[in-house]
């Protein structure tokens, strides 16, 4: 059965943890991008929906002002969202998202290279 659930951005969406399909944390929601029908610019008074979750630099522009080129912002398409609860759960895995490049860079260039960095702490003592 399909119906509508009312949510408020600040209350239910912004700053919520984003988890990927495996339950791994991706980022917290820093901002939401609005789009019009067919992906056009969102316009006042006309039909508008959430196009994407923005993460990363948009937190700093929200906190300290200024702007980053919209096309440069790491984003997660709203169509990848599966559930909205105490966290926002995606239907894709975080490896498939380019929003997480800092984590991947540190993993490949620093943490993964220190001996034991890929050791599973639960496997043994």
């Amino acid at each position: 059965m399909t119906r509508e659930r009312i949510v408020d951005a600040r209350l239910h969406l912004l700053s919520r943890q984003v988890l990927d399909a495996d339950g791994e944390p991706v980022r917290a929601v820093d901002d939401l991008e609005l789009t019009g029908p067919d992906g056009q610019e969102a316009r006042p008074g006309e039909a508008v929906r959430v196009g994407a979750i923005l993460v990363g630099p948009s937190l700093f522009t929200r906190l300290f002002g200024g702007a980053v080129l919209a096309s440069r912002l790491p984003r997660i398409a709203w169509s990848d969202v599966a559930h909205v609860g105490t966290a926002i759960e995606l239907s894709v895995r975080s490896d498939e998202l380019d929003a997480d490049w800092v984590e991947l860079w540190l993993r490949d260039h620093l943490v993964g290279r220190i001996p034991g960095g890929r050791h599973d702490p639960e496997a043994d003592g």
């Binding site: 912004l14 919520r16 943890q17 984003v18 937190l59 906190l63 105490t86 943490v111 043994d124």
Partner: protein, 409 residues
Amino acid sequence: MKKVMGAALGILTAIGGFVDIGDLVTNAVVGSRFGLSLAWVVAVGVVGICLFASMAGRVAAVSGRATFEIVRERLGPRVAGANVVASFAITLLTLTAEIGGIALALHLASSVEPRLWIPVAGLAVWLVLWRVKFEVMENVAGLMGLLLVGFAVALFLLGPDWGELLRQAVPPSPPGTEHAATYWYYAVALFGAAMTPYEVFFFSSGAVEERWTAKDLATNRINVLIGFPLGGLLSLSIAACAAVVLLPAGIEVSALSQIVLPVAQAGGPLLLAVVIVGIVAATFGAALETALSSGYSVAQYLGWSWGKFRRPAHAARFHVTMILAVLLGVGILMTSVDPVMVTEMSVVFSAVALPLTYVPILVVANDPQYMGRYVNGRFVNALGTVYLVIVVAAALAAVPLMIATGAGS
């Protein structure tokens, strides 16, 4: 049988994990200057940490969200950002104090100067965080920290005048030689030492990492409700030892070496050795918890993957944050700052920062959208409101008292 063992283990680690360098130093300083006239503050602090930890654990277990995810979501990115910066700074200060405590305790054991032990202690902390299984780490540190029970043994061996100790404690009668402002300054410090925020970050993050069930929640509540008060008794026995031996001699504690002298007097080298091992274990365990908490706070605010349960490569930014925190702590100590002074600062600022995390947790524990039927009951809420007042009052009074008394001197 296995169940009983498991429950006992949980309680024992909670006792051993309760006392850290902050409790050790603050209780000994207070005992040597005020006798047991501030014992009531330890009681207030212990009830407070039981309330706060069990509430944070319940919120984390039911919602699956740890403290700083909730802090950000409730306060918005701006206020929560300031909050996370303050909490990180205080956790870092506490981490610094704990690493310093390890080095001072090893100095007592070996005569090798602390400056040489500090990098060793930092490296050891990192290696355990990097490599050792969470459960092993928690249990070993907690059980060995239990050796601090040597302070209680020492108190009995000293054979003090129990009636006199009780008279100091109830009703509280501060010695006439101290100013009222100094008395209240140490009351705030003692409260901050008992109710350190990092214990709560650690506890609630553990609830998320271990994916607690209703059963786990019940067990952990019992561990806290029994373990923390017993840990509080341990704190009081440290204060009482100082009150019995050091206070009459006019000794004011300013170094870790003075804290263990009553133990030596009561129990000789053997008990002394036991207590020194206990101090190393307790400060080491607390260093692990504070290092983890520094990673938890930043990672949860920014939504990074975090946790001791993941391979380090799968929580890369979290591990990098912890490495930086340990390096910073070691760096601060290498400037030859006095670790005992760092400890005193850390407990006072813990009291200042407490409302920043206490209030959001109290609010969310009442939110049915998060908690379903696990919202706070009426009794917990009444207690929660009483502590809201205490926590805010202590936070507001801390800095003015610190300035007025010249940090208690």
